[in-house]
Amino acid sequence: MSRLFEIAAGLDAAGTGWGLVLVGSRLDARRIRDELVAILADLRDQPAPAEALELEDAAAFRRSWAQRGDGVLVASVGESFRSESWETLELAREELRASGRRLVLVLDEAQARAMGAAAPNLLSVFGAGVERLEAERTLTPAQREERLAALRSRFSLSDQELIDRWTEGTIAPDPDIAEWLVLLGRGDLLQSPAA
Protein backbone atom coordinates (compact mmCIF):
# COMPACT_ATOMS: atom_id res chain seq x y z
CA MET A 1 0.00 0.00 0.00
CA SER A 2 1.29 3.46 -0.87
CA ARG A 3 1.31 5.59 2.25
CA LEU A 4 2.28 8.69 0.34
CA PHE A 5 -0.60 8.26 -2.05
CA GLU A 6 -2.96 7.63 0.84
CA ILE A 7 -1.70 10.74 2.61
CA ALA A 8 -2.13 12.83 -0.54
CA ALA A 9 -5.59 11.44 -1.19
CA GLY A 10 -6.52 12.13 2.41
CA LEU A 11 -5.37 15.74 2.13
CA ASP A 12 -7.31 16.07 -1.12
CA ALA A 13 -10.46 14.63 0.41
CA ALA A 14 -10.19 16.69 3.62
CA GLY A 15 -10.09 19.96 1.73
CA THR A 16 -9.05 22.02 4.77
CA GLY A 17 -6.61 22.00 7.65
CA TRP A 18 -2.88 21.81 8.05
CA GLY A 19 -0.84 18.64 7.81
CA LEU A 20 2.52 17.31 8.95
CA VAL A 21 4.27 14.46 7.16
CA LEU A 22 7.14 12.84 9.04
CA VAL A 23 9.44 10.94 6.71
CA GLY A 24 11.55 8.01 7.81
CA SER A 25 15.30 7.92 7.81
CA ARG A 26 15.61 6.36 4.37
CA LEU A 27 13.54 9.02 2.67
CA ASP A 28 14.40 12.49 1.45
CA ALA A 29 11.98 15.17 2.66
CA ARG A 30 12.45 17.33 -0.43
CA ARG A 31 11.71 14.45 -2.80
CA ILE A 32 8.65 13.50 -0.78
CA ARG A 33 7.52 17.13 -0.84
CA ASP A 34 7.75 17.25 -4.65
CA GLU A 35 6.01 13.91 -5.08
CA LEU A 36 3.23 15.02 -2.76
CA VAL A 37 2.71 18.17 -4.85
CA ALA A 38 2.64 16.11 -8.05
CA ILE A 39 0.11 13.61 -6.66
CA LEU A 40 -2.14 16.42 -5.46
CA ALA A 41 -1.99 17.91 -8.96
CA ASP A 42 -2.97 14.53 -10.46
CA LEU A 43 -5.90 14.15 -8.09
CA ARG A 44 -7.45 17.44 -9.08
CA ASP A 45 -8.88 18.41 -12.44
CA GLN A 46 -7.56 21.93 -12.22
CA PRO A 47 -3.82 22.40 -12.83
CA ALA A 48 -1.23 22.66 -10.05
CA PRO A 49 -3.38 23.20 -6.99
CA ALA A 50 -0.40 22.65 -4.74
CA GLU A 51 2.88 24.56 -4.46
CA ALA A 52 6.23 23.28 -3.25
CA LEU A 53 8.40 25.48 -1.09
CA GLU A 54 11.62 25.17 0.87
CA LEU A 55 11.56 27.25 4.04
CA GLU A 56 14.81 29.09 4.68
CA ASP A 57 13.68 32.29 6.38
CA ALA A 58 10.53 32.10 8.50
CA ALA A 59 10.19 35.88 8.76
CA ALA A 60 10.25 36.25 4.97
CA PHE A 61 7.83 33.36 4.65
CA ARG A 62 5.46 35.04 7.10
CA ARG A 63 5.60 38.28 5.12
CA SER A 64 4.95 36.51 1.80
CA TRP A 65 2.11 34.36 3.10
CA ALA A 66 -0.62 36.80 2.15
CA GLN A 67 0.67 37.10 -1.44
CA ARG A 68 0.63 33.40 -2.17
CA GLY A 69 -2.07 31.66 -4.19
CA ASP A 70 -4.92 29.58 -2.90
CA GLY A 71 -3.59 26.07 -3.34
CA VAL A 72 -2.03 23.86 -0.72
CA LEU A 73 1.50 24.90 0.22
CA VAL A 74 3.75 21.88 0.74
CA ALA A 75 6.95 22.92 2.47
CA SER A 76 10.19 21.28 3.51
CA VAL A 77 12.83 23.12 5.55
CA GLY A 78 16.22 24.19 4.24
CA GLU A 79 19.64 23.85 5.76
CA SER A 80 19.63 27.35 7.21
CA PHE A 81 16.32 26.98 9.04
CA ARG A 82 17.11 27.45 12.74
CA SER A 83 15.26 27.20 16.02
CA GLU A 84 14.56 30.96 15.92
CA SER A 85 12.61 30.36 12.70
CA TRP A 86 10.46 27.76 14.40
CA GLU A 87 9.75 30.28 17.15
CA THR A 88 8.77 32.86 14.50
CA LEU A 89 6.34 30.43 12.94
CA GLU A 90 4.93 29.52 16.31
CA LEU A 91 4.22 33.16 17.11
CA ALA A 92 2.59 33.62 13.70
CA ARG A 93 0.59 30.41 13.71
CA GLU A 94 -2.84 31.90 14.39
CA GLU A 95 -2.27 34.67 11.87
CA LEU A 96 -1.27 32.13 9.22
CA ARG A 97 -4.15 29.80 9.96
CA ALA A 98 -6.67 32.65 9.93
CA SER A 99 -5.97 33.19 6.22
CA GLY A 100 -7.50 29.79 5.43
CA ARG A 101 -4.52 28.80 3.30
CA ARG A 102 -3.45 25.22 3.83
CA LEU A 103 0.09 24.31 4.84
CA VAL A 104 1.61 20.85 4.82
CA LEU A 105 5.06 20.49 6.36
CA VAL A 106 7.30 17.62 5.27
CA LEU A 107 9.98 16.98 7.90
CA ASP A 108 12.49 14.31 8.67
CA GLU A 109 12.78 13.05 12.22
CA ALA A 110 15.56 15.44 13.23
CA GLN A 111 13.66 18.43 11.91
CA ALA A 112 10.50 17.30 13.67
CA ARG A 113 12.37 17.03 16.98
CA ALA A 114 13.82 20.51 16.46
CA MET A 115 10.34 21.89 15.82
CA GLY A 116 8.92 20.14 18.86
CA ALA A 117 11.68 21.54 21.08
CA ALA A 118 11.56 25.13 19.77
CA ALA A 119 7.86 25.48 18.97
CA PRO A 120 5.69 23.03 20.92
CA ASN A 121 2.57 25.12 20.35
CA LEU A 122 3.16 24.99 16.58
CA LEU A 123 3.28 21.20 16.74
CA SER A 124 -0.09 21.18 18.46
CA VAL A 125 -1.62 23.04 15.48
CA PHE A 126 -1.34 19.93 13.37
CA GLY A 127 -3.27 17.92 15.90
CA ALA A 128 -4.47 14.71 14.30
CA GLY A 129 -3.12 15.74 10.91
CA VAL A 130 0.27 14.11 11.49
CA GLU A 131 1.23 11.28 9.15
CA ARG A 132 4.32 9.10 9.23
CA LEU A 133 5.84 7.88 5.99
CA GLU A 134 8.30 5.06 5.75
CA ALA A 135 9.86 3.72 2.55
CA GLU A 136 7.39 2.50 -0.10
CA ARG A 137 6.39 -1.10 0.31
CA THR A 138 6.03 -3.42 -2.63
CA LEU A 139 4.50 -6.82 -3.25
CA THR A 140 4.59 -9.08 -0.26
CA PRO A 141 6.61 -12.27 -0.69
CA ALA A 142 3.37 -14.22 -1.01
CA GLN A 143 2.04 -11.86 -3.68
CA ARG A 144 5.32 -12.03 -5.57
CA GLU A 145 5.27 -15.82 -5.50
CA GLU A 146 1.65 -15.86 -6.65
CA ARG A 147 2.55 -13.78 -9.68
CA LEU A 148 5.62 -15.88 -10.42
CA ALA A 149 3.55 -19.06 -10.20
CA ALA A 150 1.04 -17.64 -12.66
CA LEU A 151 3.84 -16.70 -15.06
CA ARG A 152 5.44 -20.13 -14.82
CA SER A 153 2.08 -21.73 -15.51
CA ARG A 154 1.28 -19.49 -18.44
CA PHE A 155 4.56 -20.15 -20.21
CA SER A 156 5.14 -23.70 -18.86
CA LEU A 157 8.68 -22.76 -17.93
CA SER A 158 10.70 -22.63 -14.75
CA ASP A 159 12.44 -19.41 -13.75
CA GLN A 160 15.81 -20.69 -14.99
CA GLU A 161 14.32 -21.95 -18.26
CA LEU A 162 12.85 -18.52 -18.82
CA ILE A 163 16.22 -16.85 -18.21
CA ASP A 164 18.00 -19.32 -20.46
CA ARG A 165 15.55 -18.96 -23.32
CA TRP A 166 15.49 -15.19 -23.04
CA THR A 167 19.28 -14.91 -23.14
CA GLU A 168 19.36 -17.37 -26.06
CA GLY A 169 16.72 -15.38 -27.90
CA THR A 170 14.49 -18.44 -28.28
CA ILE A 171 11.37 -16.97 -26.71
CA ALA A 172 9.24 -14.20 -28.21
CA PRO A 173 9.20 -10.91 -26.32
CA ASP A 174 6.12 -10.45 -24.16
CA PRO A 175 5.27 -7.88 -21.47
CA ASP A 176 4.79 -10.71 -18.97
CA ILE A 177 8.34 -11.82 -19.60
CA ALA A 178 9.57 -8.33 -18.76
CA GLU A 179 7.69 -8.41 -15.47
CA TRP A 180 8.93 -11.94 -14.77
CA LEU A 181 12.56 -10.91 -15.23
CA VAL A 182 12.11 -7.93 -12.91
CA LEU A 183 10.52 -10.13 -10.23
CA LEU A 184 13.53 -12.44 -10.48
CA GLY A 185 15.93 -9.53 -10.14
CA ARG A 186 17.12 -9.98 -13.74
CA GLY A 187 15.91 -6.72 -15.21
CA ASP A 188 19.45 -6.33 -16.52
CA LEU A 189 18.47 -8.79 -19.28
CA LEU A 190 15.97 -6.30 -20.65
CA GLN A 191 17.40 -4.10 -23.36
CA SER A 192 16.55 -0.44 -23.44
CA PRO A 193 14.88 0.62 -26.68
CA ALA A 194 17.16 1.89 -29.42
CA ALA A 195 17.47 5.67 -29.38
Partner: protein, 184 residues
Protein backbone atom coordinates in the same frame (compact mmCIF):
# COMPACT_ATOMS: atom_id res chain seq x y z
CA UNK B 1 3.63 -12.68 -40.34
CA UNK B 2 7.36 -13.03 -41.02
CA UNK B 3 6.57 -13.24 -44.75
CA UNK B 4 4.79 -9.88 -44.94
CA UNK B 5 6.18 -7.43 -47.50
CA UNK B 6 8.24 -4.42 -46.50
CA UNK B 7 5.36 -1.99 -46.92
CA UNK B 8 3.39 -3.90 -44.28
CA UNK B 9 6.30 -3.64 -41.87
CA UNK B 10 6.42 0.09 -42.61
CA UNK B 11 2.68 0.36 -42.00
CA UNK B 12 2.98 -1.37 -38.64
CA UNK B 13 5.78 0.97 -37.63
CA UNK B 14 3.72 4.01 -38.65
CA UNK B 15 0.73 2.78 -36.65
CA UNK B 16 2.91 2.00 -33.66
CA UNK B 17 4.60 5.36 -33.80
CA UNK B 18 7.51 6.44 -31.68
CA UNK B 19 7.76 5.34 -28.11
CA UNK B 20 6.21 8.16 -26.07
CA UNK B 21 8.50 9.85 -23.54
CA UNK B 22 7.56 9.54 -19.90
CA UNK B 23 7.42 12.54 -17.61
CA UNK B 24 8.05 10.55 -14.45
CA UNK B 25 11.55 9.94 -13.13
CA UNK B 26 10.86 7.14 -10.69
CA UNK B 27 8.76 4.01 -10.61
CA UNK B 28 7.18 5.31 -7.40
CA UNK B 29 6.06 8.46 -9.17
CA UNK B 30 4.61 6.51 -12.09
CA UNK B 31 2.84 4.21 -9.66
CA UNK B 32 1.26 7.18 -7.96
CA UNK B 33 0.31 8.67 -11.33
CA UNK B 34 -1.54 5.52 -12.31
CA UNK B 35 -3.28 5.42 -8.93
CA UNK B 36 -4.36 9.01 -9.43
CA UNK B 37 -5.82 8.19 -12.87
CA UNK B 38 -7.96 5.50 -11.27
CA UNK B 39 -9.04 7.70 -8.36
CA UNK B 40 -10.06 10.51 -10.70
CA UNK B 41 -12.00 8.01 -12.80
CA UNK B 42 -13.77 6.79 -9.67
CA UNK B 43 -14.71 10.38 -8.83
CA UNK B 44 -16.33 10.56 -12.28
CA UNK B 45 -18.08 7.20 -11.68
CA UNK B 46 -16.12 5.62 -14.53
CA UNK B 47 -14.61 3.17 -12.05
CA UNK B 48 -16.27 1.79 -8.91
CA UNK B 49 -13.13 1.09 -6.92
CA UNK B 50 -12.37 2.88 -3.67
CA UNK B 51 -9.21 4.73 -2.77
CA UNK B 52 -8.16 1.79 -0.60
CA UNK B 53 -8.80 -0.60 -3.51
CA UNK B 54 -6.50 1.46 -5.71
CA UNK B 55 -3.83 1.69 -3.02
CA UNK B 56 -3.96 -2.06 -2.40
CA UNK B 57 -4.10 -3.12 -6.04
CA UNK B 58 -1.58 -0.83 -7.76
CA UNK B 59 1.83 -1.64 -6.30
CA UNK B 60 5.49 -1.73 -7.08
CA UNK B 61 6.73 -5.21 -7.97
CA UNK B 62 10.38 -4.92 -6.99
CA UNK B 63 12.31 -8.14 -6.44
CA UNK B 64 13.50 -8.97 -2.94
CA UNK B 65 16.34 -6.77 -1.71
CA UNK B 66 18.96 -9.48 -2.05
CA UNK B 67 18.13 -9.92 -5.74
CA UNK B 68 17.68 -6.24 -6.51
CA UNK B 69 21.10 -5.29 -5.20
CA UNK B 70 22.87 -6.21 -8.41
CA UNK B 71 20.37 -4.93 -10.94
CA UNK B 72 18.34 -2.18 -9.38
CA UNK B 73 17.34 -0.12 -12.38
CA UNK B 74 14.52 -2.15 -14.04
CA UNK B 75 11.32 -2.00 -12.03
CA UNK B 76 7.70 -2.97 -12.44
CA UNK B 77 4.30 -1.65 -11.40
CA UNK B 78 1.48 -4.18 -11.29
CA UNK B 79 -2.22 -4.11 -10.62
CA UNK B 80 -4.74 -6.89 -10.28
CA UNK B 81 -4.33 -10.62 -10.64
CA UNK B 82 -2.49 -12.42 -13.43
CA UNK B 83 -5.35 -14.90 -13.40
CA UNK B 84 -7.69 -13.54 -16.02
CA UNK B 85 -10.67 -15.21 -14.37
CA UNK B 86 -10.06 -13.47 -11.06
CA UNK B 87 -12.07 -10.31 -10.74
CA UNK B 88 -9.83 -7.77 -9.16
CA UNK B 89 -10.90 -4.64 -7.35
CA UNK B 90 -10.34 -2.32 -10.31
CA UNK B 91 -13.88 -2.57 -11.66
CA UNK B 92 -16.02 -0.53 -14.00
CA UNK B 93 -19.73 0.08 -13.60
CA UNK B 94 -20.43 -2.19 -16.61
CA UNK B 95 -18.93 -5.14 -14.74
CA UNK B 96 -15.59 -5.18 -16.56
CA UNK B 97 -12.37 -5.20 -14.59
CA UNK B 98 -8.82 -4.13 -15.33
CA UNK B 99 -5.38 -5.41 -14.57
CA UNK B 100 -2.02 -4.30 -15.82
CA UNK B 101 1.73 -4.46 -15.49
CA UNK B 102 4.31 -1.87 -16.55
CA UNK B 103 8.08 -2.35 -16.68
CA UNK B 104 10.42 0.64 -16.72
CA UNK B 105 14.08 1.46 -16.33
CA UNK B 106 15.29 4.22 -14.01
CA UNK B 107 18.36 6.29 -14.68
CA UNK B 108 18.84 8.06 -11.36
CA UNK B 109 18.09 11.42 -12.95
CA UNK B 110 16.00 12.05 -16.01
CA UNK B 111 12.80 10.42 -17.23
CA UNK B 112 12.01 6.75 -16.96
CA UNK B 113 12.52 4.54 -20.00
CA UNK B 114 9.43 2.53 -20.86
CA UNK B 115 10.34 -1.10 -21.44
CA UNK B 116 7.00 -2.94 -21.62
CA UNK B 117 3.39 -2.91 -20.58
CA UNK B 118 0.26 -5.00 -20.71
CA UNK B 119 -3.13 -3.43 -19.99
CA UNK B 120 -6.11 -5.74 -20.06
CA UNK B 121 -9.86 -5.24 -19.85
CA UNK B 122 -11.80 -8.36 -18.89
CA UNK B 123 -15.53 -8.49 -19.53
CA UNK B 124 -18.20 -10.23 -17.49
CA UNK B 125 -19.51 -13.66 -18.46
CA UNK B 126 -21.08 -14.17 -21.83
CA UNK B 127 -19.37 -11.21 -23.45
CA UNK B 128 -17.45 -11.61 -26.69
CA UNK B 129 -14.57 -11.06 -26.69
CA UNK B 130 -13.93 -12.06 -23.11
CA UNK B 131 -10.98 -9.70 -22.86
CA UNK B 132 -8.97 -7.16 -24.77
CA UNK B 133 -5.34 -6.36 -24.08
CA UNK B 134 -2.94 -3.61 -25.12
CA UNK B 135 0.67 -4.76 -25.16
CA UNK B 136 4.00 -3.07 -25.56
CA UNK B 137 6.55 -5.86 -25.83
CA UNK B 138 10.04 -5.43 -24.42
CA UNK B 139 12.65 -4.57 -27.05
CA UNK B 140 13.85 -7.61 -28.94
CA UNK B 141 14.61 -8.72 -32.42
CA UNK B 142 11.33 -10.53 -32.94
CA UNK B 143 9.31 -7.38 -32.40
CA UNK B 144 11.63 -5.12 -34.27
CA UNK B 145 11.69 -7.38 -37.33
CA UNK B 146 7.92 -7.51 -37.49
CA UNK B 147 7.20 -3.91 -36.46
CA UNK B 148 4.66 -5.21 -33.97
CA UNK B 149 6.15 -4.16 -30.65
CA UNK B 150 2.96 -2.23 -29.85
CA UNK B 151 -0.26 -4.12 -30.53
CA UNK B 152 -3.53 -5.29 -29.04
CA UNK B 153 -5.12 -8.70 -28.69
CA UNK B 154 -8.88 -8.84 -29.33
CA UNK B 155 -9.55 -11.61 -26.88
CA UNK B 156 -7.21 -14.05 -28.60
CA UNK B 157 -3.54 -14.30 -27.72
CA UNK B 158 -2.71 -15.55 -31.18
CA UNK B 159 -4.14 -12.50 -32.92
CA UNK B 160 -2.17 -9.26 -32.73
CA UNK B 161 -3.26 -6.01 -34.31
CA UNK B 162 -0.77 -3.13 -34.50
CA UNK B 163 -1.70 -0.06 -32.46
CA UNK B 164 -0.08 3.12 -31.21
CA UNK B 165 2.44 2.90 -28.40
CA UNK B 166 1.15 4.86 -25.42
CA UNK B 167 2.30 6.13 -22.08
CA UNK B 168 1.07 3.88 -19.26
CA UNK B 169 -1.31 6.59 -18.07
CA UNK B 170 -2.82 6.92 -21.56
CA UNK B 171 -3.20 3.17 -21.94
CA UNK B 172 -4.99 3.08 -18.59
CA UNK B 173 -7.27 5.93 -19.64
CA UNK B 174 -8.13 4.04 -22.83
CA UNK B 175 -9.02 0.95 -20.84
CA UNK B 176 -11.17 2.94 -18.42
CA UNK B 177 -13.09 5.10 -20.89
CA UNK B 178 -12.85 3.71 -24.41
CA UNK B 179 -12.88 -0.07 -24.31
CA UNK B 180 -16.60 -0.14 -23.77
CA UNK B 181 -19.53 -2.24 -24.86
CA UNK B 182 -21.54 -0.12 -27.22
CA UNK B 183 -25.21 -0.95 -27.09
CA UNK B 184 -27.35 -0.59 -30.15
Amino acid sequence: MSGAPTEVHDLRSRIGGSLPPLAEESAERLCERLRAVLIRAAKRDAMICTRKDVNDEVVLADPPQDLARKHPDARAIVAGSKDRATKGALRRPDGAWLHFAVTVREHGSGPLVLLAYGFEVCFPGGHAPEWLRFDLNPPGSDNDDRGMRSHFHPGNKSIQVPCAAMTPADALLLCIYDVQVRHR
